[in-house]
């Protein structure tokens, strides 16, 4: 059988597309970088892909709010194509800026009447931060990207990653549905997120967004303390997220 295909969607300002494509290839997939303009002109490009990934970056500069304009563009020009992609069993992964985009398009965490349940606001520090954080997985939920994982370490690199829900009720609803499976370990929350939330999925578990960067830990040498401690040729734990995605559609 053919290797699963991942479409890496890029926009002006996307900047993690190459390494995210590399991660999918390491995981056994075939990755193809596609500009959002090209996809909007010909949505059929996505037809032979099983995975859609919106990688990290500063789409359109993020000068207004992170992910806002790319989300607007997707909602305006590609809403039907994306819904069809998801409904036919495609996986959607948003990393960092991609997570911000997914929330703003409503593909993730849209409430019963379509209003947004959550957002990613400025870090409490008010600053961009790049640091490695320990993460924990709250198992039992639907998210198939995190299958078999319990704890992991990954870097975050963002200025707007503070997960905020619209209301206490919204938070309770999402928790109960297992839609907030990825959490910063206690005491390691880098941005002030509510309930230490680092990633969220839709009820099917097939659409997932996360602030940390799994593509930045697919090989041991990407870890800040690998020298003399890890086999430099070993895989990094972030690779498992891409492997899970590739397996789920194989």
């Amino acid at each position: 059988m053919l290797a699963p295909r991942a479409l890496i969607l890029r926009a002006p300002g996307t900047n993690c597309d190459q390494e995210t494509a590399h991660a999918f290839e390491r995981a056994g997939g075939i990755a193809r970088r596609v500009h959002v303009r090209a996809l909007a002109e010909r949505p059929a490009i996505a037809d032979d892909c099983q995975i859609l990934c919106i990688p990290g970056g500063f789409s359109y500069g993020d000068d207004i709010a992170s992910g806002r304009i790319l989300a607007l563009e997707l909602a305006t020009r590609l809403a039907d194509a994306l819904a069809a992609f998801r409904d036919r069993g495609g996986l959607i992964l948003g990393i960092c800026n991609g997570f911000q985009v997914l929330l703003q398009t409503g593909l993730l965490l849209a409430g019963p009447s379509g209003e947004r349940e959550a957002t990613l606001a400025h870090n409490t520090s008010g600053r961009f931060i790049d640091r490695w954080v320990p993460l924990e997985i709250q198992g039992g939920g639907p998210c198939l990207f995190l299958d078999g994982l319990h704890t992991l370490e990954l870097p975050v690199a963002h200025a707007e990653g503070r997960f905020v829900t619209r209301s206490v009720d919204a938070m309770a609803r999402l928790e109960a549905a297992g839609q907030l499976p990825l959490r910063y370990a206690a005491g390691a929350n880098p941005n002030g997120s509510e309930a230490d939330v680092a990633g969220a999925c839709d009820p099917s578990g097939r659409v997932f967004g996360m602030m940390p960067h799994p593509e930045r830990f697919i090989v041991a040498t990407q870890h800040p303390a690998w020298h003399g401690r890890l086999d430099p040729t070993a895989a990094g734990v972030g690779l498992a997220i891409f492997v899970n995605a590739v397996r789920a559609v194989s």
Binding site: T14, N15, H22, F58, D63, I69, L72, Q222, G228, T233
Partner: protein, 980 residues
């Protein structure tokens, strides 16, 4: 119709903009602004109804979960009504013509929503407690606005339109140089901001006399840009009569006979093994990397713009050097950035800050934010750097930005062909940065902010990102013959350089403008950012235009390369100017400079007795040594996924020496980046500063695992007024130091840059004139390579029970040391470089690394042995015991003074800064293998690693002092905490 949309956070307590203001006010003005409220405002102009604006706000401008908004015409009273009892409303908005990235982005979003062509300007709005308008203006000026680029409006915005100027009517103003004596020519140069000497203007006059006419303004400007210090390094390439310690020496071309000559000597001796590809010719220096790639590197300074507008200056400095790499050969992909800042001490008292100078704390925060916002958006990891402090940088901070790139082999050579189109791609042209090239060649004064406001550029990183994608795709498809960036001098120097031999004709009216009204001269010399010029064969035009369209980049053919050796400038078909390329590039008269240098006599060391542990915490907290974590973590240093050795590493997040990335994802060969900066030696002995800086850069690279046979160097000179022989003298000495060190290590210089006239002049309150000159500063950058990244090394201690070995000899080198800054010593021996010994040491360590006997390796520099050990312990979270008696120490010249013998000896060994030493961690029992690898260089086992996180230092008298690693880490991080 002009609308204003004010967007505020629902939860005002979580407002980072307000907190920035509040924190700034608390530190600067002791004013309580804890209740301040803020909004981000948007001015939208175009045919929009209120309903449409509401829809736009909801879709684009407002987050439904965290924000709310208010919409009206700007003149409506409701928008400036008091909020939460705060009646003073302050608006801060970009001046007309200043690039407004947020506004441009919003306009794009509006286009997506079906409203193309709407003009948008962003603003920030603050509600403050009752105060006089003048006080509010002053507060805004000091905390959040910069008059070089911002307008501050207190109370209502009486704005009715955003529209700018009208069309420019063609004219061809002439500038007569006839009948002017030297004084008058000098005046003309100053008034027109040309930065040309009387002799140079006389040469221009004589040239035009042969043509029988006066130069047109646009011609004179082109010459001024091309002949600027910034563009042609006229000082460093001048003949120099030098009088130094070794007698009189005459150079016909200083740079050629020192720095370039070293590279030529090394390349000759490498013969067939020469791994330099393109050096000192292109926008960056290119060397061989792996079988199918070359790598290139460039470091630039952006000192004067950053002094006036730190955020924009640093951002565009980085943007410029990224374009240098993108514009090398047939384009290189940028893969890493570095930044180095030299600033005055952050605690400089307000009373000592001259008028017109931005306080160092705000300046550093601004340049860091500029590099952060530009580098992060570009998706290029900022992986290396340094911050150095000295009072001499108060009026003239130094901002170095560097970029490394990678390109396919065979892409290093490029040249336009006759008939190629001159294509400008990227951002539009406005009045930004007019006279930047000549401005950077003129000294700063307290009036610079008002005089040279036009020279300040604001970057728009996302335009550069899309431009990069466009260029790299066009390069992949082989669609252009040559490329260069529009930097200093704008189109005049970019097109001028590309057309230097062929000549070109340019229709300036075709250049896309940000707003109407620019004259032909302004279009030609504007330094608007994010533009590249390409030489495109006509048959490739359609394909290249299609790529530009797909990436959302504007690309326009504005002329063609002719082959007639002339630069012809036109406006709507009329001749605006015409220059002979040969005169433009070769016609500058050379002037012989004179320089003198007499080394300052060594001052004998005067010691203050002190304990080792207390001294160590004091040294670790010094600004040069202290952790730069608060800066490093604001930079995305991991994007592109190639990170191998990060600037902060190990379980305890200690510092790295050099940093390493993979050249190509999935491949093993790595790129090492390291810097050396011995700025404290500059005023003492510039030769030693240069040689010592190079040793430090190379040692840093080798400590990270670099192959010492494959290190390329860059030099960046920053100097004061070199028209003075006594200031030029140290520069000549530094060039000699560069030459000797490069030869000693067989490490060729591949590129470099100089920034002269870093002098700040002002008049104090009593009418006294003052001048602050920077200390002579040379930044050395080493670009190294590791054959396999799995073999790269880090300084953090790895395991208890292993041994500590020092390689290299220590001397009581305390002059210019960090120890001197603690007051424990003043003066003493200068840390002079023994180049042969340093080379032997560096190669010994590289052999040990190659043999696999090193667990950790750290270059000893600022703060010496003790600071180095502390950094290794912090990074590894382990302790260590170290015996100073075991150190290979040559005490010749150690003047123990009166009655404090043991303490002084201990301090000299522990904190002396002899160049070219390493502290290494070896596995227990690894001495023999290590000895075999290092050979006959001086080395010794000096201690061991222990599990208990305590550093124990045994003094030469046998007494020991203990200090917890946690305490060391706290001292090392104290400055970082203060800034977060």
């Amino acid at each position: 119709m002009l609308w204003e949309v004010d967007v505020s956070l629902r939860d005002a307590a979580a407002d980072p903009l307000a907190r920035e203001f509040v924190a700034g006010a608390a530190t600067v003005d002791r004013v309580d602004l804890s209740t301040a409220r803020t909004a981000v405002g948007w001015l939208l102009e175009g045919p929009l109804s209120r309903t449409e604006v509401e829809r736009i706000a909801a879709a684009v401008l407002v987050d439904p979960v965290t924000e709310s908004c208010q919409i009206d015409e700007p003149i409506a009273a409701g928008l400036t009504a008091a909020r939460d009892g705060l009646p003073t409303v302050v608006h801060v908005l970009p001046k007309p013509g200043v690039t407004d990235p947020a506004g441009l982005t919003a306009a794009e979003a509006l286009a997506v929503l079906g409203h193309p062509g709407i003009a948008v300007r962003s603003l920030r709005k603050y509600w403050l407690p009752p105060m006089e308008a003048a006080d509010a203006r002053e507060l805004a000026r000091r905390l959040v606005a910069n008059e070089a680029i911002h307008e501050v409006v207190i109370g209502p915005l009486s704005l009715r339109t955003l529209a700018g100027g009208g069309r420019w009517e063609f004219s061809r103003p002439k500038v007569s140089l006839e009948g002017l004596d030297d004084a008058a020519l000098g005046r003309l140069s100053r008034e027109r901001c040309l930065a040309l000497s009387a002799a140079e203007l006389a040469a221009v006059r004589d040239h035009f006399r042969t043509l029988g006419r006066d130069p047109a303004e646009i011609e004179l400007e082109t010459i001024a840009q091309t002949w600027s210090e910034h563009c042609c390094h006229k000082t460093l390439t001048s003949p120099v009569e030098h009088e130094g310690p070794a007698g009189r020496v005459a150079y016909d071309n200083l740079l050629k006979e020192t720095v370039f000559a070293a590279t030529q000597t090394i390349r000759r001796s490498l013969g067939a093994g020469d791994w330099c590809v393109s050096v000192f010719r292109d926008n960056s220096g290119v060397v061989r990397f792996d079988g199918d790639h070359d790598i290139c590197v460039k470091v630039e300074t952006h000192n004067h713009p950053s002094a006036i507008e730190p955020y924009g200056g640093a951002a565009t400095g980085l943007g410029g050097v990224i374009r240098d790499v993108l514009g090398t050969g047939l384009a290189a992909r940028p893969i890493a950035n570095l930044d180095v800042f030299c600033v005055a001490p952050l605690d400089t008292p307000t009373a000592e800050i001259p008028p017109g100078v931005i306080p160092p704390r705000r300046l550093l925060a601004g340049v860091v934010a500029g590099v952060r916002d530009y580098g992060n958006r570009m998706g290029i990891p900022t992986i290396a750097g340094a911050v150095a402090f000295d009072p001499g940088y108060l009026g003239n901070p130094l901002v170095f930005c560097g970029t490394v790139g990678i390109m396919p082999r065979g892409h290093a050579e490029a040249a336009p062909a006759v008939g190629d189109l001159v294509v400008v791609a990227g951002g539009r042209t406005g009045r930004d940065g007019i006279h930047g090239a000549t401005f950077s060649s003129i000294e700063l004064s307290s009036d610079s902010e008002t005089e040279s406001g036009g020279a300040v550029q604001i970057g728009h990183a996302i335009h550069e990102k899309t431009l990069t994608e466009f260029v790299l795709e066009a390069a992949r498809q082989d669609l252009f013959h040559a490329i260069t960036d529009c930097g200093a001098g704008g189109l005049s120097s970019a097109v001028g350089e590309m057309a230097a031999t062929l000549g070109a004709e340019v229709d300036l009216d075709r250049v896309p403008l940000k707003y109407a009204g620019l004259s032909a001269t302004e279009v030609w010399i504007s330094e608007a950012q994010e533009r590249m010029v390409l030489a495109v064969p006509p048959e490739a035009w359609e394909r290249i235009a299609a790529i530009a369209a797909a990436e959302g980049v504007e690309a326009t053919a504005i002329g063609r390369f002719t082959g007639d050796g002339r630069l012809t400038l036109r406006w709507e078909g009329q001749r605006a100017g015409e220059l002979d390329c040969h005169f433009l590039h070769e016609g500058r008269p050379r002037q012989t400079l004179s320089s003198t240098f007499a080394p300052a006599p060594e001052t004998p060391a005067r010691w203050q007795p002190a304990g080792l542990a207390a001294t160590l915490t004091a040294v670790l907290a010094l600004p040069d040594v202290a952790s730069k974590e608060w800066i490093i973590r604001q930079y995305d240093h991991e994007v592109q996924g190639a990170s191998v050795t990060k600037p902060l590493l190990g379980p305890g997040e200690g510092p790295a020496d050099g940093t390493v990335i993979r050249g190509v994802l999935g491949r093993d060969r790595g790129v090492v980046l390291a810097v050396g900066l011995r700025h404290r030696l500059g005023p003492l002995d510039a030769y030693q500063m240069a040689a010592g800086g190079i040793v430090e850069a190379i040692a840093n690279a080798v400590a990270a695992g670099a192959d010492p046979e494959r290190i390329a160097l860059l030099d960046n000179f920053c100097w004061g007024d070199t028209r003075r022989p006594e200031t030029l003298g140290p520069l000549v000495e530094a060039c000699r130091g560069c030459h000797d060190a490069a030869i000693a290590f067989a490490a060729p210089f591949v590129s470099g840059k100089d920034s002269l006239n870093n002098v700040f002049a002002y008049t104090d309150g009593e009418g006294q004139s003052h001048e602050i000159s920077i200390p002579p500063t040379l930044l050395a950058t080493a670009l190294g390579q590791v054959p396999a990244v799995g073999r790269s090394m880090s300084p953090d201690l790895k395991r208890a029970g292993s041994l500590l070995a020092v390689v290299g000899i220590s001397r009581p080198d305390t002059a210019g040391s960090q120890l001197e800054l603690t007051g424990r010593v003043s003066g003493g021996r200068l840390p002079a470089v023994d180049l042969d010994a340093c080379r032997a040491t560096i190669h010994a360590v590289a052999r040990a690394a190659h043999s696999g006997t090193l667990l950790a390796c750290h270059d000893l520099s600022d703060g010496g042995l003790a600071a180095g050990l502390a950094e290794m312990a912090i990074g590894g979270g382990l302790g260590a015991r170290l015996e100073l008696n075991a150190m290979p120490f040559d005490d010749a010249g150690l003047d123990l003074g009166a009655a404090i013998g043991p303490s002084a000896r201990d301090l000299a060994i522990a904190f002396g800064e002899s160049p070219g030493r390493f502290l290494c961690e070896l596995p227990a029992g690894g001495e023999q293998a290590f000895a075999a690898a290092v050979g006959d260089v001086p080395w010794a086992i000096v201690g061991e690693v222990v599990a208990e996180p305590v550093v124990e230092l045994f003094g030469t008298a046998g007494k020991s002092e203990r200090i917890a690693v946690g305490e060391l880490a706290a001292a090392w991080r104290s400055l970082a905490r203060e800034n977060t």
